[in-house]
Point group: C2
Chain length 199, copies 2
Amino acid sequence: MTEPSRILDDHALDTLFRSARTHNAWQDRDVSDVLVHAVYDLMKWGPTSANSCPGRFLFVRTKEAKERLKPFLSESNRDKTMKAPVTAIIANDLKFYEALPKLFPHTDARSWFEGKPDAIRDTAMRNGTLQGAYLMIAARALGLDCGPMSGFDKEGVKNEFFPRDDVQVNFLCNIGHGDPAALFPRNPRFGFDEVCKIL
Amino acid sequence: MTEPSRILDDHALDTLFRSARTHNAWQDRDVSDVLVHAVYDLMKWGPTSANSCPGRFLFVRTKEAKERLKPFLSESNRDKTMKAPVTAIIANDLKFYEALPKLFPHTDARSWFEGKPDAIRDTAMRNGTLQGAYLMIAARALGLDCGPMSGFDKEGVKNEFFPRDDVQVNFLCNIGHGDPAALFPRNPRFGFDEVCKIL
Protein backbone atom coordinates (compact mmCIF):
# COMPACT_ATOMS: atom_id res chain seq x y z
CA MET A 1 0.00 0.00 0.00
CA THR A 2 3.03 2.30 0.06
CA GLU A 3 4.62 3.93 -2.97
CA PRO A 4 8.29 4.08 -1.94
CA SER A 5 9.52 5.59 -5.18
CA ARG A 6 7.77 8.87 -4.40
CA ILE A 7 8.92 9.20 -0.78
CA LEU A 8 11.79 11.62 -0.31
CA ASP A 9 15.05 10.36 1.16
CA ASP A 10 16.33 11.22 4.63
CA HIS A 11 18.66 13.88 3.29
CA ALA A 12 15.71 15.74 1.77
CA LEU A 13 13.48 15.35 4.84
CA ASP A 14 16.32 16.66 7.01
CA THR A 15 16.98 19.61 4.69
CA LEU A 16 13.32 20.63 4.53
CA PHE A 17 12.22 19.99 8.10
CA ARG A 18 14.15 17.86 10.55
CA SER A 19 17.53 19.63 10.53
CA ALA A 20 16.37 22.96 9.09
CA ARG A 21 16.54 25.82 11.53
CA THR A 22 15.58 29.50 11.69
CA HIS A 23 18.87 31.34 11.24
CA ASN A 24 19.97 34.59 12.87
CA ALA A 25 23.53 34.87 11.59
CA TRP A 26 24.75 34.58 8.03
CA GLN A 27 27.85 33.40 6.25
CA ASP A 28 29.46 35.91 3.93
CA ARG A 29 28.12 34.21 0.80
CA ASP A 30 26.02 35.76 -1.95
CA VAL A 31 22.59 34.62 -3.07
CA SER A 32 22.62 35.10 -6.84
CA ASP A 33 19.80 36.44 -9.02
CA VAL A 34 19.67 33.02 -10.64
CA LEU A 35 19.02 31.37 -7.28
CA VAL A 36 16.31 33.90 -6.35
CA HIS A 37 14.59 33.17 -9.67
CA ALA A 38 14.94 29.43 -9.05
CA VAL A 39 13.28 29.76 -5.63
CA TYR A 40 10.30 31.54 -7.21
CA ASP A 41 10.11 29.07 -10.08
CA LEU A 42 9.69 26.28 -7.56
CA MET A 43 7.38 27.91 -5.04
CA LYS A 44 5.03 29.27 -7.69
CA TRP A 45 3.65 25.73 -8.20
CA GLY A 46 2.32 25.47 -4.64
CA PRO A 47 -1.48 25.33 -4.43
CA THR A 48 -3.64 28.38 -3.72
CA SER A 49 -7.40 28.70 -3.62
CA ALA A 50 -8.73 29.07 -7.19
CA ASN A 51 -5.07 29.44 -8.22
CA SER A 52 -5.37 32.98 -6.87
CA CYS A 53 -1.61 33.45 -6.25
CA PRO A 54 -2.05 36.65 -4.19
CA GLY A 55 1.53 36.70 -2.91
CA ARG A 56 3.93 39.43 -4.04
CA PHE A 57 7.65 39.21 -3.26
CA LEU A 58 10.36 41.82 -2.99
CA PHE A 59 13.89 40.53 -2.57
CA VAL A 60 15.85 43.27 -0.82
CA ARG A 61 19.55 42.82 -1.47
CA THR A 62 21.43 46.06 -2.09
CA LYS A 63 22.72 48.21 0.74
CA GLU A 64 20.48 51.07 -0.43
CA ALA A 65 17.32 48.97 -0.33
CA LYS A 66 18.29 47.48 3.04
CA GLU A 67 18.66 51.01 4.42
CA ARG A 68 15.08 51.76 3.33
CA LEU A 69 13.93 48.72 5.32
CA LYS A 70 16.03 49.37 8.42
CA PRO A 71 13.89 51.97 10.25
CA PHE A 72 10.90 49.63 10.30
CA LEU A 73 12.62 46.62 11.87
CA SER A 74 12.25 45.79 15.55
CA GLU A 75 15.49 46.09 17.46
CA SER A 76 16.00 42.36 17.80
CA ASN A 77 15.60 41.89 14.05
CA ARG A 78 17.64 44.87 12.86
CA ASP A 79 21.27 43.73 12.83
CA LYS A 80 20.69 40.25 11.51
CA THR A 81 18.51 41.60 8.71
CA MET A 82 21.07 44.20 7.68
CA LYS A 83 23.64 41.40 7.47
CA ALA A 84 21.48 38.88 5.60
CA PRO A 85 22.34 38.41 1.90
CA VAL A 86 18.65 38.84 0.96
CA THR A 87 15.55 39.87 2.88
CA ALA A 88 12.29 38.88 1.22
CA ILE A 89 9.25 41.06 1.85
CA ILE A 90 6.22 38.79 1.52
CA ALA A 91 3.06 40.76 0.74
CA ASN A 92 -0.49 40.17 -0.49
CA ASP A 93 -2.03 41.91 -3.48
CA LEU A 94 -5.60 42.76 -2.48
CA LYS A 95 -6.43 43.16 -6.17
CA PHE A 96 -5.38 39.55 -6.85
CA TYR A 97 -8.84 38.71 -8.19
CA GLU A 98 -8.31 40.88 -11.27
CA ALA A 99 -5.91 38.22 -12.58
CA LEU A 100 -8.32 35.33 -12.11
CA PRO A 101 -9.57 35.33 -15.73
CA LYS A 102 -5.96 34.47 -16.62
CA LEU A 103 -5.08 32.23 -13.65
CA PHE A 104 -8.37 30.33 -13.33
CA PRO A 105 -9.86 30.71 -16.80
CA HIS A 106 -12.60 28.05 -16.82
CA THR A 107 -15.04 29.97 -14.62
CA ASP A 108 -15.82 33.54 -13.57
CA ALA A 109 -13.89 33.45 -10.28
CA ARG A 110 -13.36 37.21 -10.32
CA SER A 111 -17.02 37.68 -9.45
CA TRP A 112 -16.48 35.69 -6.22
CA PHE A 113 -14.40 38.60 -4.92
CA GLU A 114 -15.31 41.83 -6.69
CA GLY A 115 -16.87 44.20 -4.16
CA LYS A 116 -16.48 41.66 -1.33
CA PRO A 117 -13.76 43.05 0.96
CA ASP A 118 -14.06 40.29 3.60
CA ALA A 119 -13.62 37.53 1.02
CA ILE A 120 -10.72 39.45 -0.52
CA ARG A 121 -8.84 39.92 2.78
CA ASP A 122 -9.51 36.38 3.95
CA THR A 123 -8.39 34.78 0.69
CA ALA A 124 -5.39 37.08 0.24
CA MET A 125 -4.13 36.45 3.75
CA ARG A 126 -4.65 32.68 3.75
CA ASN A 127 -3.19 32.06 0.31
CA GLY A 128 -0.45 34.69 0.44
CA THR A 129 0.72 33.07 3.68
CA LEU A 130 0.66 29.60 2.12
CA GLN A 131 2.86 31.04 -0.62
CA GLY A 132 5.19 32.49 2.00
CA ALA A 133 5.62 28.99 3.43
CA TYR A 134 6.25 27.59 -0.06
CA LEU A 135 8.92 30.25 -0.53
CA MET A 136 10.75 29.15 2.62
CA ILE A 137 10.50 25.45 1.75
CA ALA A 138 11.66 26.11 -1.82
CA ALA A 139 14.63 28.11 -0.52
CA ARG A 140 15.58 25.26 1.80
CA ALA A 141 15.15 22.75 -1.04
CA LEU A 142 17.73 24.76 -3.01
CA GLY A 143 20.27 24.72 -0.19
CA LEU A 144 19.43 28.07 1.38
CA ASP A 145 18.52 28.92 4.95
CA CYS A 146 15.67 31.13 6.13
CA GLY A 147 15.03 33.48 9.01
CA PRO A 148 11.35 34.53 8.95
CA MET A 149 10.26 37.54 11.06
CA SER A 150 7.01 39.23 12.07
CA GLY A 151 8.62 41.84 14.32
CA PHE A 152 8.52 44.99 12.20
CA ASP A 153 6.31 47.94 11.30
CA LYS A 154 4.07 46.52 8.57
CA GLU A 155 2.44 49.82 7.67
CA GLY A 156 5.82 51.50 7.43
CA VAL A 157 7.22 48.81 5.12
CA LYS A 158 4.08 48.94 2.99
CA ASN A 159 4.30 52.71 2.58
CA GLU A 160 8.01 52.60 1.81
CA PHE A 161 8.00 49.73 -0.68
CA PHE A 162 4.48 49.49 -2.14
CA PRO A 163 3.07 52.72 -3.51
CA ARG A 164 -0.35 51.10 -4.04
CA ASP A 165 -2.83 51.10 -1.16
CA ASP A 166 -4.25 47.70 -1.97
CA VAL A 167 -1.20 45.74 -0.82
CA GLN A 168 -0.84 44.19 2.62
CA VAL A 169 2.62 43.37 3.97
CA ASN A 170 2.62 39.92 5.58
CA PHE A 171 6.07 38.97 6.89
CA LEU A 172 9.79 39.24 6.23
CA CYS A 173 12.25 36.43 5.62
CA ASN A 174 16.01 36.64 5.63
CA ILE A 175 17.56 34.26 3.12
CA GLY A 176 21.16 33.12 2.76
CA HIS A 177 23.56 30.54 4.08
CA GLY A 178 23.13 30.49 7.82
CA ASP A 179 25.95 30.24 10.31
CA PRO A 180 25.21 27.06 12.28
CA ALA A 181 27.58 28.17 15.07
CA ALA A 182 25.19 30.99 15.95
CA LEU A 183 22.04 28.88 16.28
CA PHE A 184 20.05 28.95 19.50
CA PRO A 185 19.09 25.60 21.04
CA ARG A 186 16.02 24.25 19.29
CA ASN A 187 12.70 24.89 20.99
CA PRO A 188 10.34 22.00 21.67
CA ARG A 189 7.31 21.13 19.55
CA PHE A 190 3.96 19.72 20.56
CA GLY A 191 3.56 15.96 20.47
CA PHE A 192 0.97 14.54 18.07
CA ASP A 193 -1.66 13.96 20.74
CA GLU A 194 -1.41 17.52 22.04
CA VAL A 195 -2.57 19.15 18.80
CA CYS A 196 -3.85 16.38 16.49
CA LYS A 197 -6.62 13.82 16.53
CA ILE A 198 -7.58 11.07 14.08
CA LEU A 199 -11.37 10.70 13.87
CA MET B 1 29.47 29.72 -3.78
CA THR B 2 26.92 26.94 -4.08
CA GLU B 3 26.51 24.09 -1.64
CA PRO B 4 25.45 21.24 -3.92
CA SER B 5 25.30 18.61 -1.21
CA ARG B 6 22.31 20.31 0.40
CA ILE B 7 20.28 20.90 -2.78
CA LEU B 8 17.47 18.41 -3.29
CA ASP B 9 17.48 16.22 -6.39
CA ASP B 10 15.04 16.59 -9.28
CA HIS B 11 12.87 13.78 -8.01
CA ALA B 12 12.33 15.62 -4.73
CA LEU B 13 11.72 19.01 -6.39
CA ASP B 14 9.19 17.37 -8.73
CA THR B 15 7.43 15.58 -5.86
CA LEU B 16 7.15 18.71 -3.72
CA PHE B 17 6.41 21.34 -6.36
CA ARG B 18 6.96 20.82 -10.07
CA SER B 19 4.87 17.70 -10.69
CA ALA B 20 2.69 17.90 -7.58
CA ARG B 21 -0.93 18.67 -8.31
CA THR B 22 -4.13 19.38 -6.38
CA HIS B 23 -6.10 16.16 -6.60
CA ASN B 24 -9.84 15.72 -6.90
CA ALA B 25 -10.12 11.95 -7.25
CA TRP B 26 -8.56 9.29 -5.09
CA GLN B 27 -7.22 5.81 -5.53
CA ASP B 28 -8.75 3.19 -3.26
CA ARG B 29 -5.71 3.11 -0.97
CA ASP B 30 -5.60 3.65 2.77
CA VAL B 31 -3.60 6.28 4.60
CA SER B 32 -2.43 4.55 7.78
CA ASP B 33 -2.28 6.01 11.28
CA VAL B 34 1.49 5.59 11.10
CA LEU B 35 1.65 7.76 7.99
CA VAL B 36 -0.58 10.48 9.52
CA HIS B 37 1.74 10.57 12.53
CA ALA B 38 4.76 10.73 10.23
CA VAL B 39 3.29 13.73 8.39
CA TYR B 40 2.83 15.59 11.67
CA ASP B 41 6.27 14.60 12.93
CA LEU B 42 7.78 16.27 9.85
CA MET B 43 5.61 19.37 9.57
CA LYS B 44 5.89 20.22 13.26
CA TRP B 45 9.47 21.40 12.66
CA GLY B 46 8.41 24.19 10.28
CA PRO B 47 9.05 27.68 11.66
CA THR B 48 6.36 29.77 13.38
CA SER B 49 6.63 33.17 15.03
CA ALA B 50 8.00 32.75 18.57
CA ASN B 51 7.54 28.99 18.00
CA SER B 52 3.85 29.68 18.63
CA CYS B 53 2.59 26.58 16.78
CA PRO B 54 -1.08 27.71 16.78
CA GLY B 55 -2.25 25.06 14.26
CA ARG B 56 -4.57 22.27 15.38
CA PHE B 57 -5.27 19.32 13.09
CA LEU B 58 -8.15 16.87 12.91
CA PHE B 59 -7.70 13.97 10.51
CA VAL B 60 -11.20 12.86 9.52
CA ARG B 61 -11.10 9.28 8.26
CA THR B 62 -14.03 7.15 9.42
CA LYS B 63 -17.34 7.14 7.57
CA GLU B 64 -19.07 8.45 10.72
CA ALA B 65 -16.74 11.43 11.06
CA LYS B 66 -16.98 12.16 7.32
CA GLU B 67 -20.78 12.26 7.63
CA ARG B 68 -20.43 14.94 10.33
CA LEU B 69 -18.36 17.01 7.90
CA LYS B 70 -20.58 16.47 4.84
CA PRO B 71 -23.34 19.05 5.47
CA PHE B 72 -20.80 21.88 5.65
CA LEU B 73 -19.04 21.21 2.33
CA SER B 74 -19.78 23.22 -0.79
CA GLU B 75 -21.39 21.14 -3.52
CA SER B 76 -18.26 21.05 -5.68
CA ASN B 77 -16.19 19.76 -2.74
CA ARG B 78 -18.67 17.22 -1.34
CA ASP B 79 -18.22 14.04 -3.36
CA LYS B 80 -14.45 14.17 -3.61
CA THR B 81 -14.15 14.79 0.13
CA MET B 82 -16.43 11.91 1.03
CA LYS B 83 -14.24 9.66 -1.14
CA ALA B 84 -10.84 10.91 0.12
CA PRO B 85 -9.00 8.53 2.48
CA VAL B 86 -8.42 11.37 4.96
CA THR B 87 -9.68 14.94 5.21
CA ALA B 88 -7.58 17.16 7.44
CA ILE B 89 -9.33 20.04 9.21
CA ILE B 90 -6.68 22.74 9.72
CA ALA B 91 -7.62 25.10 12.55
CA ASN B 92 -6.04 27.77 14.76
CA ASP B 93 -6.08 27.73 18.52
CA LEU B 94 -6.71 31.32 19.62
CA LYS B 95 -5.38 30.37 23.06
CA PHE B 96 -2.04 29.35 21.55
CA TYR B 97 -0.17 31.87 23.70
CA GLU B 98 -0.91 29.92 26.87
CA ALA B 99 1.64 27.34 25.72
CA LEU B 100 4.41 29.86 25.07
CA PRO B 101 6.13 29.36 28.45
CA LYS B 102 6.69 25.77 27.26
CA LEU B 103 7.32 26.42 23.55
CA PHE B 104 9.40 29.62 23.84
CA PRO B 105 10.76 29.37 27.37
CA HIS B 106 13.56 31.95 27.34
CA THR B 107 11.30 35.02 27.49
CA ASP B 108 7.79 35.99 28.58
CA ALA B 109 6.19 35.73 25.13
CA ARG B 110 2.77 35.05 26.61
CA SER B 111 2.55 38.69 27.65
CA TRP B 112 2.88 39.76 23.99
CA PHE B 113 -0.59 38.32 23.39
CA GLU B 114 -2.58 38.18 26.62
CA GLY B 115 -5.54 40.58 26.32
CA LYS B 116 -4.51 41.62 22.79
CA PRO B 117 -7.15 40.13 20.48
CA ASP B 118 -5.74 41.71 17.28
CA ALA B 119 -2.25 40.35 17.88
CA ILE B 120 -3.77 36.95 18.75
CA ARG B 121 -5.88 36.70 15.57
CA ASP B 122 -3.12 38.00 13.34
CA THR B 123 -0.47 35.65 14.73
CA ALA B 124 -2.81 32.66 14.86
CA MET B 125 -3.92 33.12 11.26
CA ARG B 126 -0.47 33.76 9.81
CA ASN B 127 1.29 30.98 11.64
CA GLY B 128 -1.54 28.45 11.56
CA THR B 129 -1.63 28.92 7.78
CA LEU B 130 2.15 28.47 7.49
CA GLN B 131 1.67 25.22 9.38
CA GLY B 132 -1.10 24.22 6.96
CA ALA B 133 1.37 24.66 4.11
CA TYR B 134 3.99 22.63 5.97
CA LEU B 135 1.38 19.88 6.41
CA MET B 136 0.76 19.71 2.65
CA ILE B 137 4.48 19.75 1.80
CA ALA B 138 5.21 17.07 4.43
CA ALA B 139 2.40 14.89 3.04
CA ARG B 140 3.84 15.22 -0.46
CA ALA B 141 7.34 14.49 0.85
CA LEU B 142 5.97 11.20 2.21
CA GLY B 143 4.42 10.18 -1.11
CA LEU B 144 0.89 11.44 -0.49
CA ASP B 145 -1.23 13.80 -2.57
CA CYS B 146 -3.25 16.75 -1.29
CA GLY B 147 -6.47 18.49 -2.26
CA PRO B 148 -6.81 21.69 -0.21
CA MET B 149 -10.20 23.44 -0.07
CA SER B 150 -11.64 26.71 1.23
CA GLY B 151 -15.17 26.11 -0.05
CA PHE B 152 -17.09 25.10 3.08
CA ASP B 153 -19.01 26.51 6.03
CA LYS B 154 -16.24 27.37 8.49
CA GLU B 155 -18.56 28.25 11.36
CA GLY B 156 -20.47 25.01 10.86
CA VAL B 157 -17.31 22.91 10.90
CA LYS B 158 -16.04 24.75 13.97
CA ASN B 159 -19.28 24.17 15.89
CA GLU B 160 -19.43 20.50 14.90
CA PHE B 161 -15.79 19.57 15.58
CA PHE B 162 -14.43 22.08 18.10
CA PRO B 163 -16.51 22.55 21.23
CA ARG B 164 -14.34 25.50 22.38
CA ASP B 165 -15.17 28.97 21.12
CA ASP B 166 -11.55 30.08 20.85
CA VAL B 167 -10.78 27.97 17.79
CA GLN B 168 -10.89 29.25 14.23
CA VAL B 169 -11.24 26.81 11.35
CA ASN B 170 -8.84 27.70 8.53
CA PHE B 171 -9.08 25.25 5.62
CA LEU B 172 -9.63 21.62 4.70
CA CYS B 173 -7.24 19.31 2.91
CA ASN B 174 -8.03 15.92 1.41
CA ILE B 175 -5.08 13.56 1.68
CA GLY B 176 -4.47 10.24 -0.06
CA HIS B 177 -3.09 8.83 -3.26
CA GLY B 178 -4.57 10.88 -6.07
CA ASP B 179 -5.82 9.46 -9.34
CA PRO B 180 -3.69 11.18 -11.99
CA ALA B 181 -6.22 10.24 -14.70
CA ALA B 182 -8.75 12.61 -13.13
CA LEU B 183 -6.52 15.69 -13.01
CA PHE B 184 -7.62 18.90 -14.68
CA PRO B 185 -5.12 20.63 -16.99
CA ARG B 186 -2.70 22.70 -14.92
CA ASN B 187 -3.49 26.38 -14.58
CA PRO B 188 -0.80 28.95 -15.41
CA ARG B 189 1.35 30.75 -12.85
CA PHE B 190 2.71 34.28 -12.86
CA GLY B 191 6.17 34.79 -14.30
CA PHE B 192 8.86 36.11 -11.96
CA ASP B 193 8.63 39.69 -13.23
CA GLU B 194 4.88 39.85 -12.76
CA VAL B 195 4.98 39.36 -8.98
CA CYS B 196 8.62 39.62 -7.86
CA LYS B 197 11.31 42.23 -7.86
CA ILE B 198 14.95 42.18 -6.74
CA LEU B 199 15.97 45.47 -5.13
